[in-house]
Symmetry: C2
Subunit: 503 residues, 2 copies
Amino acid sequence: MFKTALAAGIDTCFANPGTTEMAMVATLDRVDGMRAVLTMFEGVASGAADGFWRASGRPALGMFHLGPGFANALANNHNARRGLSPIINLVGDQTTWHLPADAPLSSDTQKVATWAGWHRYVTSPNDISADTAAAICAATTGPRGPATLVIPADVTWEQAPDDITSVAIGTLAAPDPDKIGAAANLLHQPGAALIVGGSWLTAEMAHDATAIAAATGCKVFSYRVPNAEIGQGIPHIADIPYFPEQATQVLASVETAVLLGTPEPITFFGYPDVPSETLPPGARRFDLGGPAADTAKALVALVEHLGAQRHATGPVECPEMPTGALDVGSLGAAVVAGLPDDAIVVQEGITSAAGLRSYSVAAPPHRTFSPTGGAIGGGLPLAVGAACASPGRRIVSFQADGSSMYTIQSLWTMAREQLDVTVVLCNNQRYAILEVELLRAGIEVPGPKAASLTSLADPALDFTSIAAGMGVPSTRATTADAFAAAYSRANSEPGPHLIEAML
Amino acid sequence: MFKTALAAGIDTCFANPGTTEMAMVATLDRVDGMRAVLTMFEGVASGAADGFWRASGRPALGMFHLGPGFANALANNHNARRGLSPIINLVGDQTTWHLPADAPLSSDTQKVATWAGWHRYVTSPNDISADTAAAICAATTGPRGPATLVIPADVTWEQAPDDITSVAIGTLAAPDPDKIGAAANLLHQPGAALIVGGSWLTAEMAHDATAIAAATGCKVFSYRVPNAEIGQGIPHIADIPYFPEQATQVLASVETAVLLGTPEPITFFGYPDVPSETLPPGARRFDLGGPAADTAKALVALVEHLGAQRHATGPVECPEMPTGALDVGSLGAAVVAGLPDDAIVVQEGITSAAGLRSYSVAAPPHRTFSPTGGAIGGGLPLAVGAACASPGRRIVSFQADGSSMYTIQSLWTMAREQLDVTVVLCNNQRYAILEVELLRAGIEVPGPKAASLTSLADPALDFTSIAAGMGVPSTRATTADAFAAAYSRANSEPGPHLIEAML
């Protein structure tokens, strides 16, 4: 199993093993080159595997302890599925002949795996290499996503044969030339828009999309791309906004939408009297290739078909390092003004990240990751995985307080692996997005119970203490100046650091 | 929904809501008498609901955010199922007409609910009261366990009718008199053993079981009872040990096993060349009533049928408050010697709790809870729920370090609700049970990867800082004397306190 993975270039395993995985754990020591990274909660491992893929283009393994343990991995597994990130989940299970005894920790592990996506129950050590290859193939062939092997303990007790099934990371489908031509024609029409989804949006792709817009007059939007290059010299592709009214507004004049790498844009939730679709009802939808498509190749093909010209993008004025009060705006400006070169910014936060989002086009070129599936607790684990994949690269984990607590155990793995992560923990002491959602539900003045269920105050979390408790050095910043100083120091020192930004 | 629950005596809701639950959240403020307790992770809410039931005999509600959020609740939901604890899970879901849009946070919530046990998808506000009543009935009728309502957001937007379906907490089945007679006959035979499982073992039941043993000459064992009264004046019923070899040994002379409230005892995991069954192969098994049976009534019926006499139990020598080194033995002795009257001790820990288990018969009468299903992370949430159900009663949460980290967010809810919990955090810096399991797997000297995957050192967790960060006062104890002083103070002050016991 591990050798099959290694032969495919998969060399990292985020692990949270239990008794049924002990033979797998022992085997790791007999496989040179396979790194084992311990996490203290399964959701950290599944999110880290997602982040590892996004940063490196190589999938990682996750190792989990049968049904309930793997259940803890499902939320970030969901995020990986929605973000089109392959993960190879290795999930132990009870010894086959012990299952009829219905032991306390027995459960329908396969049903959990079904929910997680592609899955296979491994029935023999003779199949383990082929089954691993099948999982790698399933995970990396578009649409990419998690693939799960459920491996009963007795299968792991026996020696597997030495021969290894050869498998390579899957490639995505090249665009259909006829469709490229049809899309190019449509993009010339008035009210045309190119909407780009899929798993990433590189600087090259942003240049291509901008060239296509210039050549055809179409608008260009990105739509929930979990992994995007952004910053100075990279054309800015506008995101379709989160809230339905704003999304509907930016798309109001669209008459023809060419959809690349994504189904049509929709609202995140269903609200009373708000349609699911954010495109105008009468707008034409053209499917240039869904989540299984190679969006980069499709953009290149469009550029070539159109004879579009790529142009250099002029500089954007960079915000100065702010001083004075620390708020959503000055925090975003400070993160951007002090961002190291070639960083990865992992964003989990809606309200707290508003400033960061608006300034980030002025930052040095960097990558930005977001937990696309909407399951809470994706941010810190993504940062763990990105850092494991990118030695020497600074990861800035821009993290809301409420969501951080779902996978706060990530901090310990950052400390153990001495990962170069600067955690910017935005402490506003509330689930601010839920306050907005209460307002949207017509509750202008929440009653005491609703208020208590959206507040993180009383007591206030002290993230500097939590970080210290998990071995991560930490600083609290209550002004922009203090934040800037701490941020500069954190980014220049090796290993993790947490800055609690008091908003 | 809430009024139906209230009418059945259910008055507490452990909640981790999101956008699709906002109408439910707002409704809470219109229902007097329904308490809402916020948790920062779903597994805390499901474990707390379990603990609330065990302490009070009243189920609690859990409120969760659709598929991935509820997935986070599954591990402790599994523990509740195996511990026969009813929970009523209220799980939001996407607006029905928004499901076809396959939004990023959409998933098969019903499939998650299927794994969790009994479940129903609520299709109309007109049904919500009847559906709630059905869930309460399903959860509390034996075998008890979680029951889940999946409630799409649009169902919660509309006003439900005022009429409430009346429902009462279910009762368990009384024993069949013929079976009682047959069991009584069998217990008189040589090599007979009465094995008592089920959801609780009260002092009364322990007296009854001991009287039965005295009247018939049978042995008596308890088997994975998640909620037991123990201490001075309560006859000690021996537990069947955790490891298979020890379990097989204590049961070696059994020729006839009368099983009450449980299927036959089995090993926790399947190991090479170790049978699942821990009873001798030729022993007769007699089923006096499985997990759906009222074990207390069955014991009373046996006592009456046999004319058995209950006797007072003599005192057990209480360990002195230890001094000197802090280790598993002295820690257990100290916890017992200083245990407040009528406490609830929640145990999650196998190796660290060995001393506590051996001394606890000498403690003042108390209750002990354990996470029966084997899913990690049950202990701290059980303590949260037990404390919410038992104002004025001291909860001692005796907690291993590794398992604590799965639901460490529990500390914050303890602080917010000012729960009278003394957390005894056993810090041995390793997953000691996995070291034992590696040994069992024949790995006497783990390689560096296996060693790293079972070690919590490098960096060491500092639980006093983690607790302080979540608003819980904390102390570190490195000697038995220091532990005793901190423990006495913690137990006498209101609100939570964490003592990190360095082992």
